[in-house]
Subunit: 720 residues, 2 copies
């Protein structure tokens, strides 16, 4: 079954001609200008172009919602139906991993369309989709595997070809994204996609130490990663607050070092296999010598200061003792065990934010330092890292560390992960280290997708590197630190913003258009829901919990126009020590990192101002939104008084309504071409200033657009 | 741990006095009149009553949202906080089943409040909740076990006492339903609840034959059942369209009899244990001699007519051959295997809708019938059933069958499940059979909750039974037949309506108030979402799929005011044979069986009419709704043209807007106290007539209220 002959040559699909990848430049330039349709035309040649021109213009919904954007797309004319007789056949290499990948694809297509598609491969000479992989998968996925693929869709069938099953998996995701609902049925466009990643390392870090994240939650996130072609899940397996993986050699690690929430070894093995099936590597992080208090709860002798140590809020920021040989014996045994459990070539040892206080305070450690010719605690950490590197070498692992590990004594085989800035990434590359970027990709900082999207591993300090140095930059990793994250809200912190980072790491650096990114992100975000991700659906239950009643419409209106405070504001604003056991059930915990409503208001106000306050459609949209907000506090206020989880929102709700009222008045002035009185403006701008202050760790996202309207009503910027 | 002394005597909780259950009559009568607060007062005695009176009246939100309504409630004064230090201790009997039940309770409380509660039992002398079970659970749950419990909550702590772990589980569900969000934190009211079920058999049937339902979907439904104190899941394990359980003795049952979607035996064992943990029995149904074509695909010799048989749409309605001894040998071996796999005492053999055609057409069968002194095919089925009963007896099972099995030759040990009417239930009870009701509880018929709620096993023909006969009515079962049901929409078909049936089977028959039922159903429906049930959340992805775009607001407006056609209208309206493989991805497949919006419109129109068209609040509500609908078609129409899944909705959308416009005009006439012109009314009533016709298998739920407004504007029913 499935051995039905060679696949058709690429580019032979009806109505298609191949073209070199470099043409992407023109396409991306088109996107940059936000004109998707135009670039589609640029991407075509000859008579097909003529056909397409009218076709696309007539049906603008045909713009392809692919994310990450492929290397090369040639859109043709016509469509391939995807109906209940959809079938898949395989030629070339075939194994169980590939078959499971195809099964998942068919199941996903079935779910998204609501059709009961056949789960089994057919032995048909003319399947809807013919798949041809040249090679099989490796039992342990390598960093440098070829992930490219080519997907050729004609009106009579599709062919997906790739050197390895990884490319097949990526191509299947592209196919899924191409499926559209049309007046004639589900279908995919006639198209030729040639695609390969820009960077080999496209990762997501999840911190499961500070708050435990169950494996079923991580699994659906693996599904999401596969959908956007990410290929590394980096597990920050513990931190001061909890040790999350079972050690059979040192069971007190999880027993004393956690609240009972940790992964059993069998579960890890099954999880690693789950990831492998999806073309994703699992890289474990065993953070040391800092951020490791949870280790000392069971093994206090590892620490540099006297115990006892407990996993509790506000405990000492303890550090390992790098001077005792017993420390290395312990690490050797632990790494031996964990190197087998996590089969990936790479093994992360953390190494960041080492508090030298314990080392300085310990005379024995200081004596060791001096007797070994070291001058600083940094030298001592470098010594420690060298020892770790030797241990990992023995266990056939490549060591990784955060950028603090950079030290002249560090072997060049170590991979450096840069979190403190793009400079350290460039420095590492210049010094000969393979390196990857996480600075700018911290999802816990609550940035908008556009802000992450603008960060490129090769920009900033990286831009001045020579080609050889640039080749050492192997990719990047989004980071989901979990101070304020639990199983309940983690999806909403990762998605959909993570997809913007995934595109940055996969697609050509010229793919930059923000508007196109957000359009495609919206479509993708909806598709991710079919994978069970709760990034959209978790909001409403959270609001119900806070409200304790069924009528949450007004609360939702407020929730949709606030965002959690950015960067480290929430942590810095704590009046007491951060308590990882405290409930995370406030609006800040469920509010979306990026408010769609705010973005739309901003866009409308920009359009309105750019039109010299003449664009009536934009004005109408602004008025509709502002009117709803103006009236919202009246509905919401009684509810806020009923719940201890909501009372802190009263000032926000009041300001939202007051700002909306001010904005509406400003529009009235602008409509009448009357300059607003200075005293009124001064009063309203005072309100704006007050409303800028975060309350309940939330930012009211209407402030800046309303300020612009108020300022505008002053006549200074108005056209005559 | 946990053995910290005897539980306090019931009724000793602060501020509470016990009272006999018979006082419920007064309470229920209060509810009947829809006056929840009043009955709360009726339920109290002495000084506590005086305190309560003012308390409850001052804070009407304190009405208890319990479902099913307990046998007896005494509400006291004050509240018990439920904060992050919430703890549970156990005295009395304790085993792993009970502990898992408590773990689930704490996890659920944790999820609902967003607090990280301790999962482990404490050894505290003053826990928040003290649990005392007298006996442990049986390894196989029996029909007649004592499920009662008493829950006493004071301001300083709660005590839950029950004869068995079943009562504890029920009491924990009651506790969860009592938790409220208040201005001071989460808390439960001071209350004494004494509770026990009215019927011992409170079931839900799920048909996994016609469409396969995965076990994880069934598991979350078990969680939902436990939340409403149901205790039997009846699995209709196969039908003509698919055989869904692995047989090791007869593997071609699942191999030839299914599309590969069936439960493995290990999975069934784990599933049965999952149900047992939740106090739910799993009753298997092996339907015969009819509805069993999927058996004949692998074993055609069992059938009464010549094969071959395939699992495909439109196949013959084949029936087993009851004349061959080989048939009984097969059944004996199969039942022996399945009796072990399903440990419950009861075993269902179906027996409904036997098509005698194959028997009549087979001369050998007719010869057998006559040579054995039988007259009709019914006699032959009775002979077959007697044989089955003997086989099941050998395997220590009690036989159950649908009401067609009733026949003078049927042994009285058989349990009869009545689906054809309440008469057959009464007849069975009169003839000495234990019986349970499913007539009136068919969830696939798309009835409103109130219609199911009105069906009582003891009403209709049952009302005239004598006490002994009545005692034979052991309960009822909601039925989820799956012709139009898949894993995707099954939750929305079962929930929340199933909870109304659960209340009918648990609570006193006097609990009848519809308004109270819907209020509590709304609260429960929201709580069920924490269990992972998708009855609410599945609508939006379904709409997105149909729309193929992100803007579904107008589509949702239409979806919220239609209901699927009722009874068997959809099946009867098929122009071709029913195809169980056809996609279920239309609006009828995701639209809610009962439209909340429609109920609210009806209520508002009723209020408005009852006020002599003077109630301005009701009128305003009607106007708001009608205005939104009037304008909806304009927004929706372009979308409907873009998708083949939506185009069939155009007439519905047009009629909705036209009806809303007519309703608004009628209101204008009523406002102005002007009689609407006869010609206008005639025209509008013609529209009403047209709009009554279902389109796309959907009913527009505004028709009747708008008709009332139009009629009303004619002045006939108006006050002077």
């Amino acid at each position: 079954m499935g051995k039905i002959g060679k696949p058709p040559p690429l580019g032979a699909a009806q109505g298609l001609q191949s073209r070199p990848d470099r043409e992407l430049g023109g396409m991306a330039a088109g996107w940059k200008r936000g004109r998707f349709l135009k670039n589609m035309r640029i991407g075509l040649i000859g008579s097909a172009a003529l056909l397409l021109t009218s076709h696309v213009v007539a049906q603008p919904q045909n713009a392809l919602n692919l994310m990450p954007m492929p290397t090369s797309i040639q859109l043709g004319v016509g469509r391939l139906p995807v109906d209940r007789y959809f079938s898949v056949a395989v030629t070339g290499f075939r194994d169980a991993t590939l078959e499971r990948g195809i099964d998942r694809f068919v199941a996903e297509l079935s779910r998204e369309t609501g059709m009961f598609l056949k789960q089994k491969l057919v032995d048909s000479p003319s399947p809807t989709l013919l798949i041809h992989a040249v090679h099989g998968s490796e039992s342990v996925q390598r960093l440098s595997e070829d992930e490219s693929y080519e997907l050729a869709i004609s009106e009579s069938g599709a062919t997906l070809t790739a050197p390895s099953h990884l490319g097949i998996l990526h191509g299947l995701q592209t196919f899924l994204q191409l499926v559209e609902t049309t007046a004639d049925g589900f279908s995919v466009p006639v198209v030729m996609v040639k695609d390969k990643p820009r960077f080999a390392w496209r990762g997501l870090l999840v911190d499961v130490g500070r708050h435990f994240i169950p494996l079923d939650v991580l699994k659906r996130n693996l599904d999401g990663m596969a959908a956007v072609k990410m290929n590394v899940l980096h597990l920050h397996l513990y931190d001061n607050e909890g040790f999350r993986v079972e050690s059979k050699r040192f069971p007190r690690l999880q027993e004393a070092g956690s609240d009972g929430l940790y992964y059993k070894q069998d579960e890890i093995r099954e999880f690693v296999a789950y990831a492998h099936d999806r073309g994703i590597r699992i890289v474990p992080e065993f953070e040391m010598p800092g951020h490791s208090r949870s280790l000392f709860a069971g093994y206090p002798e590892l620490a540099s200061g006297p115990g006892p140590y407990k996993v509790e809020p506000g405990g000492v920021d303890a550090v390992m003792d790098p001077t005792r040989e017993e420390t290395y014996k312990f690490i050797d045994k632990l790494f031996e065990e964990m190197a087998k459990l996590f089969p990936d070539d790479y093994f992360h040892i953390g190494g960041d934010e080492v508090n030298g206080g314990q080392w300085t305070a310990n005379p024995k450690i200081q004596a060791f330092l001096h007797s070994h010719g070291m001058k600083t605690n940094q030298d001592l950490q470098a010594y420690f890292n060298q020892r770790l590197q030797k241990i990992l070498n023995k266990h056939h692992k490549i060591m990784m560390g955060w950028d603090e590990v950079l030290h002249p004594d560090l072997p060049k085989t170590v991979v450096v992960q840069s979190w403190r800035g793009q400079q350290s990434l460039a420095t590492a590359a210049q010094q000969g280290y393979s390196s990857l970027l996480s600075f700018g990709y911290y999802l816990d900082l609550m940035w908008p997708a556009s802000q992450h999207y603008a960060v490129d591993p090769m920009s900033g300090a990286g831009a001045s590197l020579n080609p050889e140095e640039k080749s050492r930059i192997i990719g990047g990793e989004a980071c989901m630190w979990s101070e304020w994250v639990t199983a309940e809200n983690i999806d909403s912190r990762i998605w959909p913003r993570n997809a913007a980072i995934a595109e940055r790491l996969w697609s050509s650096p010229e793919v930059q258009d923000i508007e196109s990114m957000y359009t495609r992100l919206d479509m993708l975000s909806r598709r991710l829901e079919w994978l069970g991700l709760t990034h959209k659906s978790s909001l409403v239950p959270g609001l119900y919990r806070m409200a304790g009643t069924n009528d949450i419409a007004a609360l939702r209106t407020l929730a949709d126009i606030v965002e959690p405070v950015k960067d480290y504001t929430r942590m810095n604003g704590l009046k007491t020590v951060w308590d990882f056991r405290a409930p995370l059930n406030r609006l800040v915990d469920v509010a979306r990192p990026e408010s769609d409503q705010a973005r739309r208001l901003r866009d409308a106000v920009q359009t309105y101002i750019a039109s010299g306050y003449r664009d009536k459609a934009a004005e109408a949209e602004i008025r509709t939104r502002l009117a709803a907000w103006r009236d919202n506090d009246r509905s919401l206020h009684p509810l806020l008084e009923q719940s201890f989880l909501l009372s802190e929102l009263a000032p926000l709700s009041e300001d939202l309504s007051a700002l909306a009222a001010a904005g509406l008045l400003a529009l009235d002035y602008l409509d009448e071409s009357t300059t607003s009185p200075n005293s009124w403006r001064a009063q309203q701008l005072a309100l704006v200033e007050r409303a800028k202050t975060p309350r309940a760790n939330l930012v009211l996202m209407v402030v800046e657009p309303v300020r612009q309207l108020i300022e505008g009503s002053g006549g200074q910027t108005r056209e005559p």
